[in-house]
Amino acid sequence: MTRGLPLLLLLAGCVASNGGKPPPKTTAARQPEIIFSHAKHQEQEVPCETCHAGTAASTALDKRHSPKMAVCGECHDVEEQSGCKKCHRNPEEPGELPRAPSTKHLVFSHAAHVKRAKDCLACHAGAVVARDLAEVPRPRMRADCFDCHNHMGDYRALRCKGCHESLSRYPIRFVSQFNHEGNFLAEHGRQARGNSDLCATCHGQSFCADCHAGQRATVLPSVRRAEEVGRQFIHRGDWLAQHALRSRAEPGQCIRCHSPKSCDRCHRARGVSVTSGSTGRSPHPADWLSPGSPNSHGREARRRITQCAGCHDRGAASNCIRCHRSAAKGGLGLNPHPPGWSRGGKDSDQVCQLCH
């Protein structure tokens, strides 16, 4: 277990070695080396596709569709040396068109949008009045995207993946604004099993581990995150006093996360187990071992076998074997199997050999 400690120290050291500095952000240059006016080209009624060939058919934002100089040469005399300064601020060191900020995190199809809107200006209206490349605005989500897309509706219904590759870096201030209301805590397991990639748009696996695997440290999520009083953590409050009743109410739920060892070890330590020696207090009623009694262990075992396993599942040392093993093996041969039971396993099955 302590193996994790050096790994974490190594990790901490590596993080520190970066000094916590953020990686540089990609931003467009303030004064592009290339002089270009979208407005003038618009005034000359040059179709967008003339320069941005392929854009209207593209289905992703992974390629740039900025024109090469050869495209300019289809209309302009780019070989004329005296005219360089018309387009280049520094002809001695001609640069490239400015790179726009990365949009790889967005799922976007120009083809689908052109098909519906028919006009590039529906989203790029600001570009056609720009007299300089530095003035070319990018489509704005609120003004341009949300004119057509019901972002709030999609947001509430968690339909994010239509546009967002990943939301993992967005600041999420109020989780309650998402569709996590009501009995979401009870629902989330089943939804995550089928649709975990949807969860992954906002939550990393560490988020799951935070509750589902953090208890080795003996700090429950409800204790560790005491300020999140609005969340229905399962083990909130005085769980110790109510855990027996809860486990009887929902047989099988504890064993989904806890191994039998976690029941047995604590019961023994607290003296509420028959294996606790002289201080032991059995949790069972007096007529527990009397067949046919209302409190017979057999009846309870059929109903809540996972509770029995919590303390008594100890492999070959399990105490049920003592009585239920066959007479040939020194037991009483009391058949514990349900009617019509068939294991359908192989003869060498280790479990069968414990009794037979």
Partner: protein, 442 residues
Amino acid sequence: MRPSAAILSAALILAATPAWSRSASVQSDTLTTAGGLRPEFGADDARSQVLLLELLRVATEDVGVDGLQAEISGLAGAHVGPAPLDAPGVERDRFVGSLLVGLLRWHSKRNTVRLAIGRQYLFAGGGRAEHLDGLTATYLTPWNIDATVFGGRTTPWQLDLDSPAPDDEPWYFSNYAAGGRLRFRALEHALASVGFIHEGNGGDLVRQSLTFDAGYWRLKAIEGLCGGVIDLAEGAPQELWVQLVSRPVTGLKLTADYSYLVPALLIPRTSIFSVFATSTSYHDASLGVHWALTDWLTAGAEGGVRLFPDEESALGYTVAASARLTADGRRFIGLRVELLDVIEERQLQARLYGLYHLGFGLYASADLHLLLFDVQDAARASVFALRRDERRYSVGGVGLIGHRFTPRLSAQVAGSAFTTPAASRDLRIIGRLTFDGDWGSP
């Protein structure tokens, strides 16, 4: 060095180098918790503990290569002073530490191929999630169908208080798992999948399951989700469930859930208790309503019953009601009352909780609890219920005050005090320093 260790080390090094990444996030929780307990049974003496704990989570995107992500989380801590609270007399580790997640994930440019390698949680359809050191590969076809295969060494759900001892239950858990899933998914509208998982321990079969799940969200009036697990070794359903959610008007959420479970089939076949397989199953049905009546008032109610078809009566029922008053999203107060009836025993639980932002980055919360126990059939009640005859209530609460120094850094101090049937005095103090930062473009 085992392959899994090599994989995890690689993930660790890559995850720890945000400088190579387009974006990175780091979350750190540094905790100190100290507590004292005077138990009502078991060892007679009062006990106390002090635990120092660090939880660290790092996630990065485009680590050197486009589409390569790394994620890692782990914890390390030490018990200072007396023995831990939960296991008096049991020799326990002074130091705790665990690598919870350590994986490298890669997706192709168009996201049609996804690979994940390392320690990860595997969610592959209707079955339960697996925690494994291994590989997951997914291919998304152009027809909205994706195929996933996975395999690796399983790690037991790490919810035990101690690391496994060498002679502890080697038979119980699987030590490897492999399987796959085929899923059809129309983006955000419908999903249907079928999967298979085989879990083994050496040469022994632990579980072999066929899983399925399906969902439909296209209709505005109602959303549906269903699924199940078929135990292939027994040839019988282990679990079936249906979930319906309706949002007929803005702010109103109605839910209806049904599930069928055979608890015995949750027990691995490597356990002697698996010979009780096909013993009693149960049905669970529940309804819920959650309504944001106004911007500042939310109310809800839930109720459910559990029926054992082989028994003469229902096992029990639960009903709950809740309400919450909210002001500008920064202050709220809530109340929840729940009655749980298990025939032999009953409990009534009430919670009153709230959060208040005081200004200047200061905030405070409180969470008060009251539990009342009622024994209806003393002959069948457990010794825990008999103990409750002596103190048939539990009362206490948690109070917290915190300060957000910057958007990334905050500190909290919390204290809790309870009087319960298990302990006449249960006190705890927690100090927490939290850092939550991310850099780069998403």
